[in-house]
């Protein structure tokens, strides 16, 4: 039996909703960085006083930081490319999800679900092992180095997530907008590109940035499949320094710090945008 329709119209009984709020104690990126750095140094020096002739962890990090930071820059490059690729593909997939042509919509739904629900690492393996190392188009052979394949591997889940974001944002535009556009005899394509999508961009921005932060953090997975990005280099640096076990914590701590300094501001900015768009 259908429950009786409530006959009131007051906000009091609308379901409580999750509203992103500020944390009670806010941590600025700068102070967080300082705290992290101090913590890492404290941890590393605590164990590092084995023999005075060896370099301290701090010195080792300083010595290798140009290499490690170059590795980190490579991570960022991969993440940016994957995001670009994934966003373009995701926009197309998202529009296909909203297509009025049923088969196209259902196929894209399947594709979206598949790439959203598969673990990133598994997708990465999928691309690494099943895409050939070079492809030949029109008799020109294009080599596909590992990092390019990895980028494609990261772009796939980005695509699916962006598609969902696009779909959600378009759905959230009130139907009156569609009706108004239709009454002005726009075509469906015109409606989408001239009226609906421009309204969506603002709504899509925070979740899109969230996805980017996820990709940036996912790029380290490439080290598992042999791309020499920061984490791979970190392991190599560790080996080059004689594989001292007490160096693990500061070296990986340095990697954590780099990613933190990159992702936390993005996260804060996203949260701010979310709040601002919500109040409006």
């Amino acid at each position: 039996m259908k429950p009786a329709e409530p006959v009131h119209g007051f906000a009091v009984l609308l379901p409580y909703r999750l509203v992103p709020t500020r944390m009670s104690v806010r941590i600025s990126p700068l102070s967080a960085a300082i705290i992290c750095f101090c913590a890492i140094m404290a941890v590393s020096t605590a164990w590092a006083q084995t023999t005075p002739t060896m370099l301290s962890p701090l010195q080792i990090i300083l010595k290798w930081s140009p290499l490690l930071l170059r590795g980190f820059a490579f991570n960022i490059l991969i993440s940016l490319l994957a995001m670009l690729l994934g966003t373009v593909a995701g926009l197309g997939l998202g529009l296909a999800l909203l297509s009025e042509f049923r088969p196209l919509a259902s196929v894209s739904w399947l594709v979206t679900q598949f790439f959203r629900n598969a673990p990133w690492l598994v997708l990465l393996f999928f691309v690494m092992f099943l895409v050939p190392f070079q492809i030949t188009i029109f008799k020109t052979t294009i080599p596909l180095p590992d990092w390019v394949k990895a980028t494609v591997g990261f772009a796939l889940p980005v695509m699916a997530n962006v598609a969902e974001v696009v779909r959600g944002a378009v759905r959230s535009v009130p139907s009156t907008q569609w009706e108004a556009a239709e009454s002005l005899s726009f075509t469906r394509r015109q409606m989408m590109w001239l009226i609906i999508l421009p309204q969506c961009i603002k709504r899509m921005l925070p979740p899109w940035m969230n996805i980017y932060a996820l990709v940036a953090m996912a790029t380290v997975l490439a080290s598992i499949v042999g791309v020499s990005e920061m984490l791979t280099l970190t392991a190599q640096v560790h080996a080059a320094e004689g594989g001292r076990p007490e160096l693990f914590a500061p070296l990986y701590g340095f990697a954590l710090l780099c990613f933190f300094l990159y992702c936390y501001p993005i996260n804060l900015w996203t949260a701010r945008l979310e709040r601002r768009f919500r109040i409006r």
């Binding site: 429950p3 009786a4 409530p6 006959v7 009131h8 119209g9 007051f10 009091v12 009984l13 379901p15």
Partner: protein, 250 residues
């Protein structure tokens, strides 16, 4: 303190109650008393501190100075036994504030079981009787979301009554209701009053105040401007502010 109180003394005794939110003083020395069986209405323009006063009486908000005694219990006492206070004082809110995850019956039964640790079977019998009394027999198993605003508000009244309070506080209980359901809530309150329940109401329903109240207080900007029996206040208000307010709302 509590021992010295006898039923012939006022249930609520406010003396020079002051309350500030930061630099803003919302109550500027309010004194009033409510005797057993009385129905007292507080009227006045919005923002005159009516709701704040009623919330202070229930210790939902602390007061800045002055004294509020409920059956001899000093509300401002630092070691206030809130449970003892709230057993005596029932409160109904503007926004009903029912617990949306419980049925009407469960909403009424919860506090006696959890707070007073009374026997579940006895509480249920009483709760069903109370729901019938507020004319909601048959709605026991409905969730708040399935009830209209007026029905929810009557559940809220039954919920407070289940604690067997000595006095009921009503904080603009009809302000959030659609006009057609206001009446059913007012009828319920009127029946309560006729049964001898002591009531303190903040209300915008002038006709209701006029018909049911024993005594009406008019407040404006944190002070009691004028008070008296409804027939005097509504027909022969002395203060110019009261006259202006009444001419606007009547």
């Amino acid at each position: 303190m509590a021992a010295s109180w006898t039923p012939d003394q006022p249930i609520v005794q406010c003396v020079d109650v002051r309350k500030s939110f930061g630099a803003l003083e919302v109550l500027k020395g309010i004194s009033l008393s409510v005797k057993k069986g009385e129905v007292i209405c507080i009227i006045g323009p919005s923002g005159s501190g009516k709701s704040t006063l009623i919330r202070c009486i229930n210790a939902l908000q602390p007061i800045s100075s002055g004294s509020i005694q409920i059956e001899g219990i000093e509300v401002t006492a630092p070691k206030l036994d809130k449970l003892a206070l709230r057993r005596k004082v029932g409160m109904v809110f503007q926004q009903y504030n029912l617990f949306p995850h419980k049925t009407a019956l469960q909403n009424v039964m919860m506090a006696p079981i959890h707070v007073l640790r009374q026997n579940r079977a006895e509480v249920e019998v009483r709760a069903r009787a109370l729901l019938a009394k507020v004319r909601l027999a048959g709605k026991e198993d409905s969730y708040p979301g399935e009830l209209s605003g007026g029905q929810q508000q009557r559940v809220a009244i039954a919920r407070s009554l289940a604690m067997r309070p000595d006095i009921m506080l009503f904080d603009e209980v009809t302000a959030a209701l659609d006009p057609e359901t206001v009446k059913e809530v007012l009828v319920t309150i009127r029946e309560l009053a006729e049964d001898g329940m002591t009531c303190l109401l903040v209300t915008h329903e002038m006709n209701f105040a006029r018909e049911v109240a024993d005594h009406v207080y008019f407040t404006d900007r944190g002070v009691i401007v004028e008070h008296g029996p409804p027939e005097t206040l509504f027909t022969a208000a002395k203060d110019e502010r009261t006259q202006r307010f009444l001419s606007q709302v009547l």
